[in-house]
Amino acid sequence: MSQVFPKSTNAWSKASLITLVFALLALGWLVLTLQRSDFVTSANQFIEQPVQFSHQHHVGGVGIECRYCHTAVEVSPSAGIPPTKTCINCHSQIWNTSPYLEPVRASFRDDTPLNWVRVHDLPDFVYFNHSIHVRKGVGCETCHGRVDRMPLMRQVQSLQMEWCLDCHRDPSRFVRPRDQITTMGYQPALAQAELGPRLVREYGIAGVEELTNCSVCHR
């Protein structure tokens, strides 16, 4: 028989080709979306910690300044996670019998460190330095978000390279005065478009050519 296919095949074949084209486009879109999703970046994910430490309470409620605990932030690449001693400074006086804080007391008693789970985890080939960012007017909030509203610490930014470049290509959009570094919910006194470039000049922030050099972050 010469006629191999039923008449409906014509419609089917054309429909399937159109579907294929759209499916490929959708797949491409999916991949591009997925690679920036929280699933991949680990942003906004609940992370179980040995002690459910609430930044909301300590920062927002009690009003402890960031640098009380993260002491190295102005001098070291690492902001520093406080030693148990820092917790005990207060918690030997208040809530000193709370079962909630037993791991902290146990740590201090037994001289065994607490094992916190890293929330902001950059790849090992990225060399981020807190001290220089803080010195040049990048606020804590810019990268870490409204910590004072986080009952549990979470990552709010993607921490992907394009996100880093966003600021390194034009820091004037993000910098703030040095005395506002630890402010949560900072509002610029002037329009950022005016203040930003001024701070960039004042703080001697390097130009885009330097800031986007590979070896600035990768060594």
Binding site: Q35, S78, P113, V117, F125, R135, N213, S215, H218, R219
Partner: protein, 1050 residues
């Protein structure tokens, strides 16, 4: 097309390592005649190996025939087992890497944060490392309590910031996973208390005889507090004996001084004052040992010709082996070690030393005359130096010459506390043991006498009769195996101690880390022999110095038991202050020894015992340039470090002159049987141009059966040949066995033809004076203006560059190992080095010029040239290597996909590729060592010198935080920091006042391969040599007369 007929049988994986790589077929000697002819006819002006010059058909055939293969890959059990699993995993990876979520990581903060410790910031602690009875002052970089990198202590009066390659390598030994970890009794794990009890038991058994059966065997002791402990023991056990033993000891120098001056003294030459230096087998320019660091710096200060060309000194070297120092000589004479005495006598006779007569060895008259005249012409500004391997007689003669010519030399007490002649002491110990007088033997330290003692003493066998043998060392080595008890010893970075450096200055050795295992410091082991057996090392050291401080509070020198009237608490507080200062500074100021008024015995000439002449072949024993006496045999960095002159890695060999090899029909890798004093060993031959004829040099320390995973079985045990009567040289005969061995070097892999392209440039002092800009005339494409298709890119602001002075560089290779340590460079192993896959970012290129018998040697450190118009960058498809605004040729490991195109397109071939997973990702100890500021590279990634970009970044961040510019000299690259001669200078080339900019302004400054217009940021300062015009010398390399159109002319 059968490319690989000699491919090894996969059934025999071990053979792969041992097959001949660098040899011709056994039995095909080099045609030396042909070599000479080639050279006379204007053969290659620069050459790297003899085969290259000879250009023999056999050599070429061999090159075609030999196709080594990687047979072990067939047999790797992990590979086979994991094959399917990883296959599927890798396929999954291929699709899924983009979406991989990083594994969860823990943060473990301190419970109580130590003072001064800022997480993420390295700290530097001053300490010192002792080797061979001399300490070097160090600064050790520590990251969160992990020592990671050794630097020299710039404030230390003796070394001024330089370190040698053993100090650089020592940090790896700390983390060596093969270190001994527990107390062992006959191989079984025991608690420390059991060892303590055994020692106490042994000691109390000696009480009756007041220690008559007790012997203590240590390394050369440079620690005052340890010496005090030992003296205390000897006071309590007056019949006990203490023996110090180092296989590469300084007996000859000590004996020479004792005979000449009546006391053990250490001569200190002031090379800054010396216009003429005569080295009689003294290898004082190699980066081995604290003393050399001092001399190298002084020597280099007289090789800089920018301000005053007449500053240039002249170095004569007379030696048997071709050493680093020989390579730097302005005039060099290769002479058998046994003839150097005669040579010295002849010089002495001509220099007016009364009572010494002698005729120069055949053929060296002119050299003797030239030296004698030069010495006479530079009275008061010339020195004669003698190597430790020369017998006491030569030292005596040199003392006499130096006295006669008024050499700038002072005599100081020795750095070791109790100098002596060690071989004799060891011989006496063995005699005592044989006589049954010894019941208890305590062996401390790394000198490993069972392995390293002279073979004729049969030390290992002899001590079997001692009923209690206790050993403490960092490794369960050959000696530990022959002892009842073994106590793991602490590394110097783990324990408190103290030590004297070459001029007597004391450093407190402070630990940077708690002992990784249950190790005990030597002080703690010694304490077990005292009435306070559990005294900590810290207490021992501190108490000793407390007592010393009490004596020296006001007087400043030892002697009076001055009355200490001050209350105890005030004294303690004051001491605490001083102690802190000592620890901070890294040394105790004012402890340097005062020169002794050494009077040369008037009858010195009669005290010289003439050495016996050696007819025929002579065998020399020398310490190894990289594994020292064998104690670093398990140190991968040092094993893989190419030996400065031979460029061999992972092995030692019988070094010999081309003429000797020729006469015996030998070629590189041919195994010869060397017989000396009735003992025979088999060693592969390696031909060294410029080696003395009829002499063979063996380095010791290889062939250890119990060195550890890396070191065991590498090389050949030459201690087995060495006897106590001829510790450094003696007569020998050799026989070719017909077997061959695979010796692997990093440079002479294969070479036939060379070409002169002005990579190395040199001139004599005369030529330099006539034409200071001689380097410019050596460019073979003389373009006045570099033409380019593109507009020149302007580099503004801070621009990094480097200048390397070929006149001060000695080729000691300390920079290579410093680079390895700083930049987490992996060790690849012999099989991979054989495939040209060593990972060193910085290599020291070594070229010979002239005839194979009397070659000139040129060395050239070759890091990344950091070209402005970098050929590597343009060809990278993924921007993994691009230029930074500061002119760095950035290498981004995480972006690299590994096409290797950049390496192909690099004219200097300074890029290194991780062909396999070279980095050890599993051993936890090695993880501790790594520099956290440098990415650890995985396989499939290109890497290269970054000018230590991590240091640049650290300095830049520091400077920006302080709102200032980076100061000149604030950034030292790792190679620059370690360099004993300050030959490497790094800095901002746009700052006209920076050191590097001033050097780049020197007329000697040139860029290699300038005609490619890549504009390297690394440039070189051409060498200026100062040969005696009265002696024949090879034409300088790269000079106009040598740069005739060569290369393609063949």
């Amino acid at each position: 097309m059968s490319l690989d007929p000699t491919e090894p049988n996969p059934e025999q994986p071990l053979d792969v390592q041992k097959r001949g790589t660098l040899r011709l077929r056994a039995g095909q000697a080099i045609d030396l005649q042909r070599v000479r002819e080639q050279l006379q006819q204007g053969g290659p002006p620069l050459w790297r190996s003899l085969e290259e010059v000879a250009d023999t058909a056999e050599f070429r055939n061999y090159l075609h025939r030999e196709f080594p293969a990687n047979a072990s890959d067939w047999l790797d059990p992990v590979g086979r087992r994991g094959f399917l699993k990883l296959m599927s995993a890798s396929m999954a990876l291929a699709g899924a890497t983009a979406c991989t979520v990083q594994p969860q990581e823990l943060i473990v903060p301190y419970v109580r944060q130590p003072e001064n410790e800022i997480p993420g910031k390295p700290l530097f602690f001053a300490t010192a490392m002792t080797l061979g009875g001399v300490a070097t002052g160090l600064l050790v970089e520590s990251h969160e309590g992990r020592p990671t990198k050794i630097e020299g202590n710039p404030d230390h009066p003796a070394s001024r910031g330089a370190t040698d390659l053993f100090a650089q390598g020592s940090v790896l030994t700390l983390y060596d996973p093969d270190r001994s970890k527990t107390v062992l009794h006959l191989g079984e794990i025991r608690p420390w208390s059991a060892a303590l009890a055994a020692v106490r038991g042994g000691l109390s058994a000696q009480a009756a005889t007041r220690g008559a059966g007790l012997r203590l065997l240590t390394e050369t002791v440079a620690s005052p507090s340890l010496a005090a402990q030992i003296q205390q023991l000897l006071a309590q056990q007056p019949n006990a004996k203490w023996i110090q033993w180092e296989p590469v000891n300084r007996d000859n120098a000590r004996a020479g001084a004792r005979t000449a001056f009546g006391q053990y003294l250490e001569p200190h030459y002031d090379l800054t004052q010396a216009d003429v230096i005569v080295s009689l087998d003294a290898d004082f320019l190699s980066s081995e040992g604290a003393h050399n660091l001092h001399y190298m710096r002084q020597f280099a200060s007289r090789r800089r010709v920018e301000d005053n060309a007449d500053n240039l000194n002249r170095l004569y070297v007379v030696e048997s082996n071709h050493t680093v120092t020989g390579g730097r000589a302005d005039n060099r004479l290769a002479l058998k070690s046994s003839q150097i005495e005669a040579f010295a006598r002849a010089v002495a006779a001509q220099s007016g030393v009364a009572g010494i007569i002698g005729t120069a060895p055949a053929g060296s008259d002119a050299f003797v005359d030239a030296i004698a005249q030069d010495l006479a012409a530079h009275r008061g500004r010339a020195v004669v130096m003698v190597g430790d391997s020369q017998p006491a007689a030569v030292h005596l003669i040199a003392h006499a010459i130096n006295a006669a010519i008024g050499a700038p030399v002072t005599y100081l007490p020795t750095p070791e506390l109790v100098p002596g002649e060690q071989t004799a002491a060891l011989r006496e110990l063995v005699a005592d043991i044989r006589a049954g007088q010894v019941q208890m033997l305590v062996i401390l330290g790394e000198s490993n006498p069972v392995f390293s003692a002279p073979a004729d003493l049969q030390f290992g066998k002899a001590i079997q009769s001692v009923s209690l043998r206790v050993h403490s060392g960092m490794f369960f080595d050959e000696t530990a195996q022959q002892c009842h008890w073994h106590v793991p010893a602490a590394h110097y970075l783990e324990a408190w101690s103290d030590a004297r450096t070459i001029d007597g200055t004391v450093s407190i050795v402070q630990p940077l880390i708690q002992p990784l295992y249950g190790s005990k410091s030597v002080h703690e082991v010694m304490a077990t022999l005292s009435e306070r057996p559990e005294r900590s090392g810290y207490d021992t050291v501190r108490e000793y110095w407390f007592a010393w401080a009490a004596l020296n509070r006001t007087t400043g020198s030892t002697g009076s038991t001055g009355s200490t009237s001050a209350p105890a608490s005030a004294a303690a507080a004051e001491f605490e202050q001083r102690w802190r200062k000592w620890l901070h500074d890294g040394f105790i100021a004012g402890t340097a020894a005062m020169p002794t008024a050494a009077a040369l015995a008037p009858d010195v000439a009669t005290r010289i015992t003439a050495g016996a002449a050696i007819d025929g072949l002579e065998v020399n024993f020398r310490r190894d340039p990289t594994v020292y006496d064998g104690r670093f045999a398990n140190n991968g960095w040092l094993q893989e470090l190419p030996k400065p002159m031979t460029k061999l890695t992972w092995d030692n060999a019988a070094l010999m002159a081309p003429a000797t090899a020729d006469a015996n029909g030998l070629h590189n890798g041919d195994i010869i049987a060397i017989t000396h004093d009735g003992r025979t060993i088999n060693v592969p031959a390696w031909v060294v141009p410029g080696h003395a004829k009829d002499a063979i040099t063996l380095t010791v320390g290889y062939g250890r059966p119990l060195a550890g995973d890396l070191g065991s079985g590498t090389g050949f045990n030459t201690y087995a040949l060495r006897g106590s009567s001829a510790m450094f040289f003696g007569g020998a005969t050799i026989v070719r066995t017909g077997d061959a061995y695979d010796l692997v070097g990093t440079q002479d892999h294969w070479a036939i033809e060379d070409k002169n392209t002005g990579i190395v440039r040199a001139a004599t002092l005369e030529e330099f004076k006539q034409n200071p800009a001689f380097v410019k005339q050596m460019e073979h494409l003389k373009l006045d203006k570099r033409i380019s298709l593109y507009a020149d890119k302007e580099y503004r602001g801070q621009q990094w560059g480097m200048a390397i002075d070929l006149n001060t560089c000695t080729g000691c290779t300390a920079c290579v190992i410093a680079c390895v340590a700083e930049n987490n460079i992996p060790v690849v192993g012999k099989a991979q080095v054989k495939r040209n896959r060593e990972m060193h970012w910085l290599r020291i290129d070594r070229y010979f010029a002239g005839s194979p018998d009397t070659p000139d040697t040129y060395v050239q450190p070759m890091p990344c040239q950091q070209c402005e118009n970098a050929p590597c960058e343009v060809v990278c498809p993924v921007s993994a290597t691009v230029h930074s605004a500061e002119g760095l040729n950035d290498m981004v490991y995480n972006r690299c996909v590994g096409t290797r195109y950049c390496s192909n397109n690099c004219p200097w071939k300074v890029r290194r590729f991780n062909f396999l997973l070279y980095q050890d990702w599993n051993t936890p100890q090695f993880k501790l060592q790594r520099n956290p500021d440098v990415t650890v590279r995985s396989r499939g990634i290109m890497e290269k010198c970054t000018y230590c970009v991590q240091r640049i970044n650290a300095a830049r961040i520091q400077a920006k935080r302080e709102d200032r510019a980076i100061r000149d000299g604030e950034i030292l690259t790792a190679c620059q920091a370690v360099c004993p001669t300050d030959a490497i200078v790094f800095g901002d080339i746009n700052d006209p006042n920076s050191r590097v900019a001033r050097l780049k302004g020197s007329p000697r400054n040139y860029a290699t391969l300038e005609d490619l217009n890549t504009r390297p940021r690394t440039t070189y300062l051409a060498a200026v040599k100062n040969p005696n015009p009265a002696l024949p010398h090879n034409p300088m390399v790269g000079t106009p007369h040598a740069s005739t159109d060569h290369g393609a002319g063949h």
